[in-house]
């Protein structure tokens, strides 16, 4: 059981690293933000499994905090003001 | 070679401290400098927390943890101050980096 969990932790971390490729590559801001949203969720999943592996219930609290805060960050991203028509097009290319 | 987790994370902390220091000193963009300070700070905290780690089964030393918590909050205060200044500077000068102090160079001649 524990071995399975440890391996799945590594797998989850690898998916997280793969998701980072999308953050780095973009190409649009929307892509980056979405990918970071997925990263946040993967991180929450990792924390949940870690709480089992390390038998640390506090890790669940940490996951809760990340889950809640990632929403705020995502909204802050989505609601940021536009610069100008030309700029925002460049933004979205 | 086998590394203890605390040594691994302490080395990582030194690594990101150096990355932050490097970026801080070569890039002029103010936001990037502020980011670099935050990242270098994270490196320092990682070193501190790895000093507290006592192995998997034992509780960690709480004092460095308290220090890191304090440090993070102080860093947020500094970041806020820096961002406020950076905002003012960019709206006054139209630039995102620091210009050389004009009065000194100009009147030295």
């Amino acid at each position: 059981m524990s071995a399975f969990l440890s391996v799945s932790l590594v797998v989850l971390l690898i998916t997280m690293a793969a998701g980072l490729v999308r953050v780095a590559r973009g190409p649009t801001e929307a892509d980056r933000v979405l990918a970071s949203l997925l990263l946040g969720t993967t991180g929450v999943a990792i924390l949940l499994v870690l709480s089992l592996v390390m038998s640390m219930p506090a890790a669940v609290d940490v996951a809760l905090m990340f889950a809640v805060l990632s929403a705020i960050i995502g909204i802050a991203f989505a609601l940021r003001g536009r610069v100008a028509a030309s700029e925002s097009e460049k933004d979205l290319e | 070679m086998s590394l203890d987790p605390e040594t691994l994370y302490a080395l990582t902390g030194c690594g990101i401290f150096l990355i932050g220091l490097y970026s801080f000193s070569i890039y002029p963009h103010l936001i990037r400098k502020i980011l670099a300070l935050n990242i270098a700070g994270a490196g320092v905290y990682l070193v501190l927390a790895s000093m507290a780690y006592q192995g998997k089964e034992t509780v960690a030393d709480p004092v460095p943890h308290a220090m890191v918590l304090t440090g993070i909050v102080v860093a947020v205060a500094g970041t806020a101050l820096a961002l406020a200044l950076a905002g003012r500077i960019s709206s006054e000068t139209g630039k995102v980096d620091l210009e050389e102090p004009q009065d000194i160079e100009k009147e030295d001649e």
Partner: protein, 500 residues
């Protein structure tokens, strides 16, 4: 000893923090609340000095835990002396600020009101940070006080609100934050190595090993940046010269001394048992170069406030001469006393000088040195203050600067360190050069007197009083000596606590 609740020590931090809260919450009474706090701090400092003179060095355990688990305040001669300096300079600057930040009567004086409103809480925080720094015996706590001092100093510089001031403040903040991170990384290594943050315990446990050396190198690098010692002084002149005048005075007189004080604590108290020969030479060389470089640049400046700022770089150089000189068996204590007296003299003289320069700037609307002609007739008190402070900066008798410099030279000569003697003499010659240059222009007879704005009487009289304090300090030098002697570092003076 005396019961802890009677101790003056914690009040030195509590009063300014209370002052900060009150001045921020009630902007209408900010000036008077700030002044009242200043009085309270003065009283507490006097009480503390009396206690220290009577009972000797004292440790105060916050929360009752005691080191290593808790945080200790520790007052010995050095910290009491620094507290006295900051109380005196702080009181002078507070008085000056009444005139400099006058209450705006009309609603149109928004800018004036803004500055007055924020000066007081920021200054109270700065004072709290400084007092905390001089009292603390815990290296992590020192980090927080450093940040408190740094943040409030930056915001105070930015209060001038000009483009140059904002840029200078930003550079100061960035450099200061990086310096603090260096310091904190050093703290991490020390904690990992010795398992304590207490300076006294570190002194008992310190051994020479790689981690220790890396730690104190990191901390020293961070502190040198924050002190603005040569060659990491680049941020200082723009920040000090563009700040509002009371702030310039505070920065030069007190803020640069905070990190320097920590350097003294580290190198002369906690890690004195390490072999510091090479480090001492390095500090001494940096100090010597700094004092010549800064004075040479001061000579070339065309603006008065910039001249005074560069002179700060030079004067900081003298302080660093303490590292090679105070280690010697015979004359170590002479150099130690010399530097501490010099430090106080510089603080007072620089405060007076910035105040006088600020008065001139306000009266003329500029501070270009070559266009000062006639100012000695219009602002005689300020120009007199400038001249008196200049005498102390040059180190001519009977000023406080003279005694400090004389003791330093005495130690250097008897230790046969001629390179220091030559550097000090060169620095003095250059200082005479830049002070005389200003005085000459100020006393020049103009073709016609320039139009001036009025300068409030408080500002003129405070400048004069501070300059007088700087020059009369020499007359009261037995009291400082008694204070400095208390628990001076062991190897500076092998028989601790005994007078010569």
């Amino acid at each position: 000893m005396n019961p802890e609740f009677l101790s003056w020590i914690p009040w030195l931090v509590v009063f300014p923090l209370m002052g900060a809260i009150v001045t921020f919450t009630f902007p209408r009474i900010a000036t008077w609340a700030g002044l009242f706090t200043g009085v309270l701090i003065l009283v507490a400092t006097v009480g503390l000095v009396a206690q220290t003179l009577a009972y000797g060095a004292n440790t105060y355990s916050l929360g009752g835990w005691g080191a290593p688990l808790g945080i200790d305040f520790r007052v010995d001669g050095l910290s009491a002396w620094m507290l006295v300096i900051s109380a005196v300079v702080g009181a002078c600057v507070s008085l000056y600020a009444i005139g400099y930040f006058p209450p705006g009567s009309k609603a149109s004086d928004e800018e004036k009101n803004h500055k007055r409103r924020y000066f007081w809480p920021l200054w109270m925080f700065l004072w709290a940070g400084l007092n905390g720094l001089f009292l603390s015996n815990d290296i992590f706590n020192l980090y927080i006080t450093l940040e408190m001092v740094g943040f409030s100093a930056v915001a105070l510089v930015a209060l001038a609100n000009s483009r140059n001031a904002l840029t200078a403040a930003m550079r100061y903040l960035l450099v200061g934050l990086m310096g603090s991170l260096f310091f904190l990384l050093g703290v991490a290594f020390l904690y990992g190595t010795y398992g304590t943050l207490d300076l006294t315990l570190l002194g008992e446990r310190s051994r020479a090993n790689m981690a220790t050396w890396v730690a104190i190198s990191l901390m020293t690098a961070g502190l040198i940046v924050k002190t603005a010692a040569f060659p990491l002084h680049f941020w200082l002149p723009p920040a000090h010269s563009n700040a509002p005048t009371p702030v310039s005075a505070l920065l030069s007189a007190l803020v640069t001394k905070g990190p320097f004080y920590i350097l003294l604590r580290l190198w002369f108290f906690s890690f004195a048992s390490l072999d510091t020969t090479y480090a001492d030479y390095l500090f001494g060389a940096l100090g010597a170069m700094g004092l010549i470089w800064g004075a040479a640049h001061a000579l070339r400046q065309s603006r008065l406030k910039l001249l005074v700022a560069y002179s700060t770089v030079a004067q900081l150089g003298y302080l660093f001469l303490v590292f090679p000189l105070a280690r010697a068996e015979e004359t170590g204590f002479t150099a130690w006393t010399g530097v501490l007296l010099f430090l106080a003299a510089h603080a007072l003289a620089k405060t007076a000088m910035f105040m006088a320069a600020g008065n001139i700037l306000q009266a003329l609307g500029h501070d270009t040195i070559s266009r000062l002609a006639g100012i000695s007739r219009l602002l005689p008190k300020s120009v007199f203050a400038l001249a008196l402070a200049g005498v102390s900066l040059m180190g001519l008798p009977p000023s406080g600067g003279f005694i400090g410099k004389w003791l330093l030279l005495d130690a250097a000569i008897s230790q046969g360190r001629w390179w220091i003697v030559i550097a000090v003499l060169c620095g003095t010659a250059l200082a005479i050069g830049y002070v005389v240059r200003v005085i000459r222009f100020a006393f020049e007879d103009p073709i016609d007197l320039p139009q001036v704005k009025s300068v409030s009487a408080v500002m003129e009289w405070t400048a004069l009083a501070t300059a007088l304090l700087a020059s009369l300090m020499a007359l009261a030098s037995s009291l400082p000596l008694d204070l400095i002697t208390i628990d001076a570092p062991a190897h500076v003076w092998p028989e601790v606590g005994v007078g010569p």
